[in-house]
Amino acid sequence: MDKLISDVFSLPGKNIPEIIDLCNLEAPEPMEKILLAGAVLGPDDAYLARLPHIPYPLLPHLETRGLAWQLHEEKDGSVLILIRRRS
């Protein structure tokens, strides 16, 4: 899994964060968790979460907060989202 993540998101192996599974939370809790985590994200930190589907409403919020995001859609429809502070 780590290799897959490092390939998909172009992350150096040692910097791969733990995947936070947000699939078992009712809307809008996943969005709240991500925005809370994003608010305290340092310049070299990364936040990686699994969501049940593409979080379209979240993406503009990340942009306005200066957070860069990458999405990776899995075969089962779930999505991995990687968030970093824009340099």
Partner: protein, 425 residues
């Protein structure tokens, strides 16, 4: 597997879905007015003008408003595709309300010019809805089963509008030269199964697992359901276009009704059964009054096929009226009412508070609408459904009028709930 790059266009302003939702109680008040004024005359036979008025107050004034409002919001959120020219939604909304008023007025004995005006209003309204929404859904980057179901629903809305407007011209001095019973059947099939059923099923695939943490039906099941739905929509259209059928029992209109069976099985048997199973297997069994609406609506859905068979085979017209009442008010409107209790707080939370999460303390979505308020709405809604069934059975004026009064109370309950949530600051 792919990494996706997406458009960041925002969802439409809250005022667009909210304006449609706020008009739902007006549709309910129209239905209540018809029952209060005509009593059981609106419940004798579905072919009487008063019954047509009641049907369309429910289907256009209640369901149409809620479903169109939801589509404006859900298309960008679920399909990732912004709806172009969103401000046209306000023109669509005003035209739809005006068209409905004219339509009901004419069917309640008003002048023919009202129907002509309403045909113009509906043409503007549905064009302003279908063209931008259709464009957005066709160009959506996400093409999952929910999006496919939404496409079927919007396509069905376009077709039923054309059929409905041509038939409505009969109330404006025009003549409908084709087989009216056959085209009514096609209109009903596409409206109730394609437009209403397609959208309820598609939206439930998104909303139920997201808000209630239920298991998902899985891609294969959803594709089968969509295939059954499409088959049951296309076959009646083919019957109507080719004119097949023989006189007697297998008349073209009966054949069109039978041809809709695959869609009916998908929407009123498999989808309710699967969704009820998913709800009972949800991971976090937290008490949630909005689920009562889903459960009651889905159980009503399971009753529709047997009642439709009775309506098709038995001579008593009350079966046909019961079919329409249970379908519009018992199944679709109950589910829609329940969805409003979840979607509206979510929209308000998203538009007013989500941008401040992590920067300051914001209220939770659940705190915007109390369970108590949802339960009152549910009790009123369910009472009106049951009372309507009793009124259809006994055909007495006072029961029909009492149903109308409970509808008034339900309308005020929804209006009060919407205003309460929308005014949260």
């Amino acid at each position: 597997m792919k990494t996706v790059g997406l458009s960041l266009d925002q969802a439409p302003p809250l005022s667009i879905p909210a304006s449609f939702f706020l008009t739902i109680p007006i549709g309910m008040l129209m239905a209540a007015y018809i029952l209060l004024k005509t009593g059981s005359a609106a419940l004798i036979s579905p072919w009487m003008p008063h019954a047509l008025a009641l049907t369309h107050a429910g289907s256009l004034g209640v369901l149409g408003m809620g479903m169109i409002g939801a589509l404006y919001q859900m298309t960008p959120v679920v399909a990732g595709s912004p709806v172009p020219f969103t401000r046209l939604a306000h023109i669509a909304h005003i035209s739809l309300v005006a068209g409905l008023l004219g339509f009901i007025w004419r069917l309640m004995g008003g002048p023919m010019s009202m129907m002509s005006a309403s045909i113009v209003c509906f043409s503007i309204a549905i064009s302003a809805v279908v063209l931008p929404l259709g464009w957005a859904l066709i160009h959506a980057p996400t093409t999952n089963e929910t999006v496919q179901g939404m496409r079927v629903a919007v396509a069905s809305l376009a077709v039923i509008t054309v059929i409905g407007l041509v038939m409505a011209s009969g109330f404006a001095g025009g003549v409908f030269s084709a087989n009216r019973m056959l085209w009514v059947q096609v209109h009903l099939t596409l409206a109730l199964l394609g437009w209403v059923g397609g959208l309820i099923m598609a939206v439930s695939w998104q909303v139920i697992p997201t808000f209630y943490l239920t298991p998902d039906d899985g891609k294969t099941t959803k594709r089968w359901l969509l295939a059954l739905l499409l088959t049951g929509l296309v076959l009646p259209l083919l019957v109507a276009i080719t004119g097949v059928g023989i006189s007697g029992f297998l008349s073209p209109s009966r054949l069109a009704a039978i041809a809709a069976l695959p869609a009916a099985i998908a929407i009123w048997l498999l989808h309710p059964a699967l969704t009820l199973r998913n709800i009972s297997n949800r991971q976090r069994k937290r008490s949630d009054a909005s689920l009562f609406f889903w459960q009651a609506g889905l159980v009503s859905g399971l009753l529709i096929i047997p009642i439709a068979m009775a309506a098709l085979l038995l001579p008593d017209p009350r079966w046909q009226v019961l079919f329409g009442w249970l379908l519009i008010w018992g199944w679709a409107a109950t589910i829609m009412h329940g969805m409003l209790t979840r979607i509206v707080p979510f929209l308000v939370w998203f538009h007013r508070y989500s941008a401040r999460v992590g920067l300051e303390i914001v209220p939770s979505m659940r705190s915007l609408l109390t369970q108590q308020r949802i339960k009152i709405g549910f009790i009123l809604h369910l009472s009106s459904v049951l009372l309507g069934v009793i009124a259809i059975y006994f055909q007495t004026d006072w029961l029909a009028q009492l149903t109308g009064l409970i509808l008034v109370a339900t309308a005020f309950s929804i209006m009060s709930m919407l205003i309460h949530v929308l005014r949260s600051q």
